[in-house]
């Protein structure tokens, strides 16, 4: 039902990642399509500290309640004093709900929550799942 709502409004789902304080990073968000293939949704330019992807409604699963599996990768660049915490938030359309299955506390996910941290210049993946119920 909710998915139909999303499709009907042509609403997009946005995912925002930021790398923490006084730091910058490169981000890339990929999704698994219906065939299980990994496809790039978008990659930030160099030296971003925040990046937002719009996930078009037609990428979302065709069946209500089915999850969309995503892989977020980031690579932080820290000069000094910065932090490497990857903060993630997903803004859902009204009435929807989001779930990051690989978070230890899925009941307390957003807005933004820390999902992982990385060493300077280390490519760090964060696989998660969203579901619009």
């Amino acid at each position: 039902m909710a998915l139909q709502f999303v499709n009907a409004l042509k609403a997009n789902l946005s995912v925002t990642a930021s790398v923490g304080s006084l730091a910058e990073a490169e981000f890339a968000l990929q999704y698994f399509d219906a065939s299980g293939a990994l496809k790039l949704l978008g990659q930030s330019a160099r030296a971003a500290d925040t990046f937002t992807w719009q996930i078009a409604a037609d990428i979302l699963p065709s069946s209500g309640g089915d999850p969309l599996n995503l892989l977020l990768m980031f690579k932080p660049f820290i000069l000094q004093g910065g932090t490497t915490n990857l903060l993630l938030r997903a803004d859902q359309p009204p009435g929807g709900s989001l779930l990051a299955v690989n978070h230890p506390d899925p009941g307390n996910l957003y807005p933004p929550y820390r999902v992982c941290s990385a060493m300077n210049a280390t490519t760090t993946p964060y696989a998660f799942q969203i579901r619009i119920a």
């Binding site: 006084l22 660049f77 000094q80 690989n102 696989a127």
Partner: protein
């Protein structure tokens, strides 16, 4: 020369000295060879010829007479450092210190990314560079020995670096608007670029693990992806480190202005409490590069290219002028008098310096004024003031990478009391890289360019 001055050891190179010279030279000018003194006329009071630049990294600890070396202080951009003895029981001679960047403690840091820090309002950056410190010292009740009695102390302080130019996060190339850090990362874009590719089999397994909600498998596959990019990441880290060094270097040789203040309360010896007697200190320091030319750059160039042109020694050439002032109120000052060993006084210590550093010649000139005014008119005989100055030069006598340097310094002090009258004269041969006066902080010399100071705080200490 007065009688209290140490005698001039020698005005000629003795046989032993000459032997040492030959030995050191034949040892390929080993940097480990000790300097050979030719003239060594030490000052009676060497403190007269010590010119401290900058605001202390911890004004509170400085006021308490505790060395910051005993406490690992935070850089201006780190949240805080708490220093406690292994067991703070409140016993004698125990100290504790807390160094905080208040914005880290109270502010919302998650929203301040690098770009917002750089492009946001100046007040925001100032708040990040603003640090406060608090220190406690229990003192000692002496256990019946009056000579061991030390008052307990409570001190507060703050310090801040005012100019963006000396902040490695915001330092820019001369005449440029882009920061050194961002510009450098752009130069190394190929090395640092994120490669989002994932092996097909890993992607398939990851998709299955996500669908199944198998957290341990997700974790394992994430680790596998990271490990697969180990070589790429090592290359990126090397580039990032190079950019860190570059940003720190430009910040060090940029104009700087720092302020600091501290207050110290003294209380019951051996017990924290009864604080009443107080003193306060204000610091102000600044430095300004007058221009350094290497190629097209207006800053010291210690790149490999510069080193190659100079037998391995980083090619540097710059002028730096700066000064520092310290005003104390109600400060306890030693008099050197047995009947009245200390007095309470208002003090002022001002200093200006000029430094020239190049690959073959290092010059410095410093002049300062000190004033001590007893707060109690009855102790005015201990009030004093005076001028002091010190010049030094290091001249490279050879062209080898770690060659022979002739170091010379001469200083004189004159004031209203005999303790302010002093002189120093040093002449020596040094085998190895020059050890310049380095007036504006231990890391301001490009000879020390491998060091990477991690704080934009405190002028030359940055």
């Amino acid at each position: 020369m007065t009688a209290r001055h140490a005698p001039v050891k020698s005005l000629a190179i003795t046989a032993a000295t000459f032997g040492a010279l030959i030995s050191a030279t034949s040892a390929a000018a080993s940097a480990s060879a000790p300097p050979v003194g030719i003239v060594d006329e030490k000052a009676s009071n060497k403190d007269l010829f010590t010119f401290d630049y900058g605001v202390p990294s911890s004004p509170a600890l400085n006021l308490m007479g505790l060395s910051p070396d005993k406490t690992t202080m935070s850089s201006s951009l780190k949240p805080f450092v708490l220093s406690l003895p292994s067991l703070f029981s409140g016993g004698a001679d125990q100290s504790a210190a807390l160094d905080i960047a208040p914005l880290w403690l109270l502010g919302d840091n998650s929203s301040i990314g690098y770009n917002k820090y750089v492009t946001g309002p100046y007040a925001q950056r100032f708040k990040y560079r603003f640090r406060t410190e608090m220190a406690l010292y229990t003192g000692n009740d002496g256990g019946g020995d009056s000579k061991k009695v030390k008052a307990s102390q409570l001190a507060f302080g703050f310090s801040a670096s005012l100019l963006d130019a000396s902040d490695p996060l915001t330092a820019t190339f001369p005449g440029a608007s882009d920061t050194v850090w961002s510009s450098c990362l752009g130069t190394h874009e190929d090395e640092i670029k994120l490669n989002p590719s994932v092996p097909a089999d890993v992607a398939t397994q990851l998709n299955a693990a996500l669908t199944a909600g198998d957290q341990s498998e997700i974790d394992r596959l994430q680790t596998k992806i990271t490990e697969g990019k180990k070589d790429e990441d090592a290359r990126a880290l090397k580039a990032v480190q190079a950019c860190t060094d570059e940003a720190n270097k430009y910040a060090r040789f940029a104009p700087n202005l720092s302020v600091g203040a501290g207050a110290n309360l003294q209380g019951t010896p051996g017990t924290l409490g009864g604080f009443k007697t107080s003193s306060a200190v204000l610091w102000l320091s600044g430095k300004y590069p007058l221009g350094t030319v290497f190629g097209s750059k207006q800053v010291p160039d210690t790149s490999d290219g510069g080193a190659a042109k100079n037998g391995g020694i980083p090619e540097t050439s710059y002028w730096m002028v700066g000064g520092s002032a310290r005003a104390g109120f109600g400060t306890m000052v030693s008099t050197g008098d047995t009947a009245t060993p200390q007095i309470k006084a208002n003090t002022f210590d001002g200093w200006i310096g000029l430094e020239r550093n190049s690959s073959w010649l290092v010059l410095s000139a410093q002049a300062g004024y000190q004033d001590v005014s007893a707060t109690n008119a009855a102790q005015d005989t201990f009030s004093k003031s005076g001028w002091r100055w010190l010049t030094s030069a290091s001249l490279k006598l050879s062209s080898a990478a770690n060659g022979i340097w002739l170091d010379a310094s001469y200083g004189s002090a004159h004031g209203t009391t005999q303790t302010f009258d002093d002189k120093t004269f040093m002449l020596s041969l040094n085998f190895g890289p020059a050890n310049p006066a380095n007036l504006f902080g231990e890391n301001s010399s490009p000879q020390n360019d491998n060091s990477s100071p991690q704080t934009p705080q405190n002028g030359g200490k940055s």
